[in-house]
């Protein structure tokens, strides 16, 4: 008798020892799930305006001060960073998953470093990473100070 040895969905979040692309996949999954849950919560939150002004104001304050501490901007910053990462990595995946910016088939040579995970794919990661940091920084500054750079 054989037994099942499936790694299961939990192994999506085990990117150790597999390189940068695997890390980006794990983060993409994680941010996707987080944003999906946020979207549901967001629809619920804004639907409360149907219950009148008092309820709306109370909900807004409750979400801005969970457990009596001013956590609102921090939570919003996290959601913003997740959304920015998901968007920019999505752009990268759209490009590389259509076979663009990848090398032509080549002759592998020892020590067999995969060229599809480096080269232009890495350039794309760095360029979009810089954009990612810039957009996140602008967004976080706006959340905390209300100033648009």
């Amino acid at each position: 008798m054989t037994i099942e040895n499936k790694k299961g969905w939990i192994s999506w979040f085990n990117p150790f020892k597999y390189g940068s692309d695997r890390w980006m996949f794990a983060l993409h999954r994680l941010t996707g799930i987080v944003l999906g849950l946020y979207l549901i919560a967001h629809v619920w939150e804004t639907s409360n305006i149907l219950n009148g002004q008092v309820t709306w104001n109370k909900i807004m304050v409750d979400l801005d001060y969970p457990f009596g501490v001013h956590f609102g901007p921090y939570i919003l910053s996290l959601v913003l960073v997740a959304a920015v990462y998901h968007a920019f990595n999505g752009i990268r995946l759209t490009i590389v998953e259509n076979g663009l910016m990848l090398p032509r088939p080549y002759r592998p040579e020892y020590p067999y470093k995969a060229k599809s995970l480096s080269g232009l794919n890495n350039v794309l990661k760095i360029v979009l990473g810089i954009f990612m940091i810039a957009v996140s920084a602008i967004g976080i500054i706006y959340i905390f100070t209300g100033v648009i750079i």
């Binding site: 037994i3 192994s11 999506w12 080549y106 995970l117």
Partner: protein, 267 residues
């Protein structure tokens, strides 16, 4: 000179602990870990360590292996959290005193470190890994230039070890996913200029559990012991599929060379 070469030969450098996942279908209900102390000589691989355990400590330990030099692709295991061929992993290069050996994931386990690879072979079979032609009997040889061969040559190096399916996070959650190995082989035959079977392979490759399920996490290319780069093959195959929607992908199929008579006169 001779003294220099043989200086460290056969000398025990250090002793490491092997933590091996054991499962005996006749006795155990669930897998368990057992530890073995193995003296390590210079140049000893993980497979040598497992064979040492089998010879000197515990004879009941089972593992798949055959050639011991990375050609047959039988000894795939998860060593210290990463899929590797046991025969190509030097114990001293790992640099750890504890070596954790697990059977490959995403396969069923027959015993100890022996996975049931029938899923891999079934997927490999499903993409029709052979050249499909119109004519029943080949009249002459099919012509191919070196440049045309270069387009798929790297994907022919696959040794069917199954490490990529074990590393793939999509295979981990989707039982029916074809896997990097089968998709790479699908691309290898579609990119071959002698082949005419694109339409025939389409219903397997262009499906929910086929090429579109890949999310390009690159783990397959990272663990491949032969540098086949299955992730690249899948993305290139996807490019063919996407372009096929707008511009119909047409395989011409190479012409046959001049008809030849065999030397013995019997063609």
């Amino acid at each position: 000179m001779e003294q220099l070469i043989l200086k460290d030969f056969g000398e025990v450098v250090k002793t490491v602990t092997f933590r091996v996942r054991r499962y005996d279908p006749e006795k155990d209900d669930a897998p368990r870990y057992e530890e073995y102390r193995v003296p390590v000589q210079k140049g000893m691989t993980v497979l040598d360590g497992i064979l040492y355990i089998k010879e000197h400590i515990d004879h009941t330990l089972s593992a798949r292996y055959s050639c011991r030099m990375g050609i047959c692709g039988s000894c795939g295991m998860i060593i210290n959290g990463k899929e590797r061929l046991a025969c190509q992993t030097q114990i001293l290069e790992l640099g750890k005193d504890l070596i954790k050996v697990d059977p490959m994931g995403n396969y069923e386990v027959v015993k100890d470190l022996v996975p049931d690879l029938s899923k891999l072979f079934r997927n490999h079979q499903n993409v029709k890994p052979f050249i499909i032609r119109d004519e029943e009997e080949p009249k002459g040889e099919y012509l191919q230039t070196p440049g045309q061969r270069e387009r798929y040559a790297m994907f022919t190096d696959c040794i069917l070890c199954g490490l990529c399916l074990s590393a793939c996070p999509t295979s981990a959650s989707d039982e029916l996913y074809l896997g990097p190995q089968a998709l790479a082989q699908g691309f290898r035959y579609i990119a071959d200029n002698r082949d005419l079977g694109f339409e025939e392979r389409l219903n397997v490759l262009d499906s929910k559990h086929g090429v579109w399920r890949c999310h390009f996490s690159g783990a397959c290319s990272e663990v491949c012991p032969k540098g086949v780069d299955p992730a690249l093959a899948i993305q290139l195959l996807r490019q063919v599929m996407t372009t096929n929607v707008f511009v119909r992908f047409k395989q011409k199929g190479t012409e046959t060379g001049p008809e030849r008579k065999s030397v013995s006169g019997v063609s």
